[in-house]
Amino acid sequence: MAKTVLITDDTAFMRMTLRNVIEKNGYQVVGEASDGEEAVALYQELQPDMVTMDITMPKMDGITAIKEIMKIDPKARIIVCSAMGQKPMVLEALSAGAKDFLVKPFDAERVVESLRKIGS
């Protein structure tokens, strides 16, 4: 059975781009969240194998969302996908429990590598 992924990004365009890459490589996108709050709610509802997480988002930012999701499920596999490539922020996301980080713009192969390595 294909591994399931929840996409979190505040722009529809990025969600679409990610969905294309993820589905083309044999994973199943089970949901799209456009902010941190939605991601936390959808995580609880859908229990996906992996989550992609933007950092800069309205309502609840990605780092808070990571912390919330880790509270619900300490085994959650979250991959940060954000343009924000500044060390302190990325370290904060990883310390909060994210397993990998990608800095936008990224290429499809890098996304796939992350899904493959983090998903196994």
């Binding site: 505040d10 722009t11 529809a12 365009f13 990025m14 679409m16 800069t56 988002m57 309205p58 954000s82 343009a83 924000m84 490539g85 500044q86 060390k87 302190p88 922020m89 800095v103 936008k104 713009p105 290429d107």
Partner: protein, 197 residues
């Protein structure tokens, strides 16, 4: 004094814009080339809109508020035609429209550009610069200009960085505005060994 400040801003612009352009080019699978070295201008508030093509021109503006160690405002403004060219390259749609997806793509593109710019400055200075969720405005330059500057600590002059790219044989123009709050600008300047600017 003004010259030193401008020089310094030019240097920041070079580095920041360099990274932003690389990011943009990557998004377009390498189909984008920078044409000229970015040109920083320090202009009186009223002339800045003129410099960017006049207050009447329709532009696409993406703007963010910066928080963290350095606070301020930042924006990426483009003439509508340039934005449409980028959108075509980005989505592969021949006649792109400014529907929800189109706007979202432009927003993401602007977001990645300005964030890459900030990432580069952050790496260089070890100061955290956190971008807010980007706002998008498509309107006459004058109006967009006002949304960008809402809340910015604008004194009498603003610094505009003009960049020109070429993608798929077409000329693309864009303006990056970096408006750090005065005291934070001093902080950055000090890190580079420059005193009062």
């Amino acid at each position: 004094m003004k010259e030193a400040r401008l020089d310094f801003l030019r240097e920041l612009a070079n580095i920041g814009t360099g990274h932003a352009t690389t990011a943009l080019s990557q998004m377009l699978n390498g189909r984008l080339f920078q044409l000229v070295v970015p040109d920083a201008q320090m202009l009186p508030f009223t002339e800045a809109a003129e410099y960017m093509g006049g207050a009447e021109q329709v532009v696409v503006g993406i703007f963010i508020v910066i928080s963290g160690d350095v606070k301020g405002h930042m924006a990426f403004l483009q003439p509508l035609e340039s934005a449409l060219v980028l959108l075509r390259l980005l989505t592969g749609i021949e006649q792109p429209e400014l529907d929800e997806l189109g706007r979202s793509a432009l927003q993401e593109l602007g977001n990645i550009m300005v964030t890459s710019y900030l990432n580069a400055l952050s790496t260089m200075t070890n100061l955290l610069m956190v971008p807010s969720v980007p706002g998008l405005a498509i309107d006459m330059a004058g109006a967009v200009w006002e949304s960008v500057l809402a809340g910015a600590q604008v004194t009498d002059e603003v610094t505009v960085i003009r960049t020109r790219f070429s993608a798929d044989g077409e000329d693309i123009e864009g303006h990056i505005l970096f408006l750090p709050d005065h005291e934070d600008f001093e902080k950055v300047a000090r890190l580079f060994g420059l005193g009062e600017l």
